[in-house]
Symmetry: C2
Subunit: 332 residues, 2 copies
């Protein structure tokens, strides 16, 4: 077995308590004691047993990351990895461990419940796309603090970190308007998702504000994935748009494929703008103009928010909405 506090105490000639104080950086320890003990800890490469610590303090220093794996999404979109990176980094910096929960949608509730009540995390973050209300109820019942990445339509007072999708969509559409495009089409996200809805609203707002007609034919609903961008764009082409705002980069990439297949040129014949600023966008031909969503940062922020929530048992609610920005590239 590994060393224990007792070992360190013995070797240093001090008591367990003093060693504990040193490890936790508590005051009330003589400089000499601190030095000696620190030295021995280093030498023996000692690390306190987390289980014992957790038992004594009631805190386990671990947060959970709950991802209902809606298969297609997770598999095709780099979104999750960026998020995971940000979250992981934040955990590392705050000395928290990160527990990964990938749950299948079907058995969602039971499986989650089990974990939630096991007391193996101090709180959790969830990045789900298609919550239903019972699902949120389940989460609330756990009595664990949690933070949601990406809002939903529900009007609960939940902790969340989210992007300003409305502003992003407006940015994108306004950019197209400013460039002089007149027949601006959009491939939307699913209209039962908050982000999908808001991005469409932003598009409409801007057309309206600029006195452009909102033409039904130029609005078509996708599902955020590449394939749907391709098929939607094929349909749109019949109505001769001069620009397409795709509500996700993956759909924009799909749309670009369709446009190229139709032997049209980007942006001369049709401009394309995406949303998310995935690393892939820069590699497109031509590189894709898009709206920057700082996914990594949102992950990081979610952890920091959760930590705040955890030492704020007075029930304060933390909601952060991040502003996106425009990344101009050669597709517009």
């Amino acid at each position: 077995m590994a060393h224990t506090l007792e070992d360190i105490a013995e070797k240093s000639g001090y008591s367990r308590s003093t060693v504990s104080r040193v490890i936790n950086g508590e005051p009330g320890v003589s400089k000499k004691a601190r030095q000696q003990i620190t030295k021995i800890i280093k030498e023996l490469n000692f690390h306190p047993n987390q289980a014992a610590r957790a038992l004594a303090t009631g805190k386990i220093n671990t947060i959970g990351l709950l991802i209902p794996e809606t298969v297609n999404f997770i598999f095709t979109d780099p979104y999750f990895q960026l998020l995971a990176q940000g979250i992981s980094k934040a955990c590392e910096n705050n000395d928290y461990a990160l527990l990964l929960w990938l749950t299948e949608p079907e058995i969602e509730r039971s499986s989650i419940k089990k974990y939630l009540n096991h007391g193996i995390v101090d709180g959790f973050i969830t990045a789900s796309i298609n919550f239903d209300e019972p699902m949120i109820d389940t989460l609330l019942q756990s009595n664990l603090p949690f933070v949601i990445i990406g809002r939903h339509a529900y009007e609960f007072d939940l902790n969340y970190v989210d992007l300003d999708n409305l502003a992003g969509a407006e940015l994108a559409t306004q950019h197209l308007v400013d460039r002089g495009y007149k027949r601006i089409a959009t491939i939307t996200g699913p209209q039962d998702m908050f982000a999908g809805e808001e991005r469409l609203t932003g598009y409409c707002n801007v057309l309206h504000a600029n006195g452009l007609v909102i033409e039904e034919n130029l609005i078509i609903e996708g599902d955020f994935l590449q394939e749907s961008g391709y098929t939607c764009a094929k349909k749109l082409l019949a109505f001769k748009p001069d620009a397409i705002f795709a509500a996700s980069d993956m759909m924009a990439i799909g749309a670009m494929n369709a446009i190229r297949e139709a032997e049209l040129h980007i942006p001369e014949d049709i401009a394309v703008i995406g949303f998310d600023n995935l690393p892939l966008t820069a590699q497109q031909k031509p590189p894709l103009t898009t709206i920057h969503q700082p996914i990594h940062q949102m992950g990081y922020l979610a952890v920091e928010t959760l930590l705040k929530v955890m030492d704020n048992p007075d029930g304060e609610v933390f909601q952060t909405i991040i502003r996106p920005s425009l990344v101009t590239r050669q597709s517009t």
Copy 2:
């Protein structure tokens, strides 16, 4: 706070030990006691405190997943998610929690070391692409049992789960030969990676066995990513291959883009075969023939292997090599 064993003991009129036995499904408890206690546990939705349990048993029922995030790779390839899914599923089925460690390559050692010695996992799985030997030494020094997904060139007696890359490449190349292609090119993986090396060897083996010339011009080294498939294919086209074996699906997809850009048809002008059988392959136009690597299953297997290792302290080494299979689609 949540309930404790003691609470259940009190309410049921039995002792802590008996309740503990019931919870752990141990024998030697009367039917009546078991029923009563089970009922109360359900009613109170009691779950034993994991920290206490871990402290008492010395086992924490958690395994770590160590992923050195070589940024480009992780971000572009669905490989990791498939793997994570398989691993997560296996953990769930075996009542283990899964700790996620994404470590930056640079700070690899120190960061890992900290985690490794914290005693917060019973063992870990690592899916790294570019290990160096010092890295492996670090892992070994932790004294934690671990399983590697994907072998490396080192001749250690390590536990691993890997694909038979050689057989896969042979399958792919032979398929092209069987279809009558004569000028078969290959876009290889990085030659400093074991998988990259083996997949090239398999290609050469088959050409050789079929009396075909191995032409330098038809072999070009990529890095498994889509972009490199594209650029490599562009170069290859000058040498008029009638088929291309790409050592990864992502490269195959890149190659297909290059071929289409050259206004050539797949497979009439050039056939393409990939490797991995990512979900994406089926959606290509035309759908991509490829070698099936059961990534999900490998993840699952890795966990099972790790569990075996963990209750086999006699140092038995477990090495599993999985056979790939051919998935024929319209690109060949």
